[in-house]
Point group: C2
């Protein structure tokens, strides 16, 4: 009897292809794929070192060698099942012509746009040129990843990006953008339509350059009232999913309407995403029952548990695995890694998930 | 035939007593009672004038004549169905011995407490003395209100107040307070237990001074994961409701776990509140079906619509009235009045609600 030349797949990893893609194809896998939102970030010493070398944050996103290095750092350290491109959702308004800056410790600062005059300053003329380095970074990462590691491209969803475009940065009450959306919806929808178009273009180009999965971050979906959630989160997402289905039908899409709460179900029903990102507030049993029959789940460990580590981290990670591991599922945090996270706690989590026997 | 000496009650207002108390008693009323969260605030010119005269914000809360004047301003202007005491949730940590300051435009600043050493600095020794002016203000307002207007006292719920105590102000990621709560829950629960005790005391004293309804604001309930929501929002609220039931059983309690989303149902089931405040994201039909059979609803107009006014305001206000007006219901915003609100739009809303024929 001859020994097979390729090693036998381990239990739970016997299927063909990358774990992330299998989960997104609706498959239930022995142990779920794992990656971490903001896995390349300030909690990693190698990232802080790179950041110090790199100059500005936007420059880092737009310099392929730096973006590639940041993208690969956590993959090398933790053997995660996916790399997510190191970039930012605000490269889209930048490419549309808005002034965008990242000041240390204060978050992004944009020259706010909240009327037709401001809208007239935005356009797609320079889009390709400005974002060429991003697609170059995607192509480089795609050629460098380990065999089992999938590459995720991403963009901000139109509502969330619009909130930065209009408010000029992060906001506490979203008063300006909501007032525009509610008071002059026809006018505001011109901004949203432009962002839909730019987002489709941006994601399709990442897919063409080698991204195998696309994620849409709608970080501020939770501040919308019921009707506005449908209009400014669900509908634009559905349109993006529909158009991407025409140009890159084989690339699955993860939608993440963070904080959507009672709106998650409508989001899943109506948008056509292959997976939904869930924040830590989402009840485990509820999501297994109501959402998982319709699409893969991704989430939802509280990032604070990655700061805490130890027994509390293990207990909640195992609860999530038990609740969602029986269906298509991607283990992740419910929100980005906190800068105070000890890197060894991320390693603990990787071990817990890899050791899990569903 | 003799004309009755008291005027006949108008249609829809024929019952005994104040509309707010009737709604909280589970009654469905012809047109619902109305008040506005943060109804005394910067959108009112008379408030800005008072604020300029008053010196600091905390001083304003702790000087009865100023707190009384601010409380009465919106009631006088709009003939609302309730007055809510002008105060702040952070008077509780102040009374427990924490340094609290309000700097113009930057929100509250507290000397943060995040360990047992810090906890040891807090205590109830000075509680009564420090808050005596608040109860004096309640008593004065109670004696001055129009006959049909109910007086609401309030406090922050323990989780929300704890987040300020620990983070030292408003937070973007709640990293410090969540890390404490998740990593050393026994220790953190000493803070929460102290806040439960202080909150019961604070609310009971407001009731004794003349508050007819009590509201608990849990503004940051939405950042908690499922298990933590039960532990730090639902359980402390239930305990406060239970203890208040012993000392002032006739005073109804409105709980407002803002952003609770999929957790609202558990909150209503388990806490025993007489009404639940709902934020703008809560779907109307869902709440009518799942929550209203169990308690009165309060909410949930998006405050941005009060900035917009006109047809958009009327349309959504009427949608809410149609969905919730058939059961016990208190019309309100889903979040505080925005400073950019034109005062005449609040008057429009009052007219819409008062004119509604259920």
């Amino acid at each position: 009897m001859t020994r097979p030349t390729t090693p036998r797949p381990r239990r739970g990893e016997r299927g063909q292809g990358k774990l992330l893609l299998r989960a997104l194809g609706g498959e239930r896998i022995g142990r779920p794929p794992l990656w971490l939102m903001r896995q390349a970030g300030r909690y990693l010493p190698e990232y802080r070192e790179l950041r110090a070398r790199a100059g500005g944050f936007l420059e880092m996103c737009l310099t392929p060698e730096l973006a590639v290095e940041a993208t690969l750092q956590p993959v090398g350290r933790y053997a995660l099942d996916a790399a997510i491109l190191f970039s930012d959702i605000l490269v889209v308004p930048y490419a549309l012509g808005q002034a965008v800056a990242f000041s240390e410790g204060e978050g992004p600062v944009l020259e706010p746009i909240h009327d037709p005059g401001g809208l007239a300053r935005l356009g797609i003329a320079q889009f390709e040129t400005r974002l060429a380095p991003v697609y170059e970074a995607v192509a480089q990462v795609a050629s460098m990843l380990p065999v089992g590691t999938a590459l995720i491209g991403f963009a901000g969803a139109p509502w969330t990006v619009a909130s930065y475009v209009v408010e000029g940065g992060t906001s506490r009450d979203f008063a300006t953008v909501k007032t525009w959306a509610l008071g002059r919806p026809q006018e505001f929808s011109r901004l949203v339509d432009l962002l839909v178009e730019a987002t489709v273009e941006h994601l399709a180009r990442q897919a063409r350059a080698g991204a195998e999965v696309l994620q849409l971050f709608d970080s501020w979906a939770g501040v919308l009232s019921e009707a506005e959630f449908d209009r400014w989160c669900v509908e634009p997402t559905r349109e993006i999913v529909r158009r991407l289905g025409q140009v890159c039908p084989d690339v699955p899409i993860i939608g993440f309407p963070r904080g959507a709460g009672l709106g998650y179900e409508r989001f899943v029903e109506r948008t056509g995403v292959q997976a939904v990102g869930l924040d830590p507030a989402v009840p485990l049993v509820w999501a297994a029952r109501e959402l998982q029959p319709r699409c893969a789940l991704q989430g939802n460990l509280d990032p604070a548990l990655l700061v805490v580590g130890g027994a509390a981290l293990r207990r909640q990670a195992e609860r999530i695995l038990a609740a969602w591991g029986q269906g298509p599922f991607i283990f992740n945090l419910g929100h980005g890694v906190l800068p105070t996270t000890p890197p060894e706690h991320a390693a603990e989590l990787v071990e817990i998930v890899r050791a899990w026997q569903g």
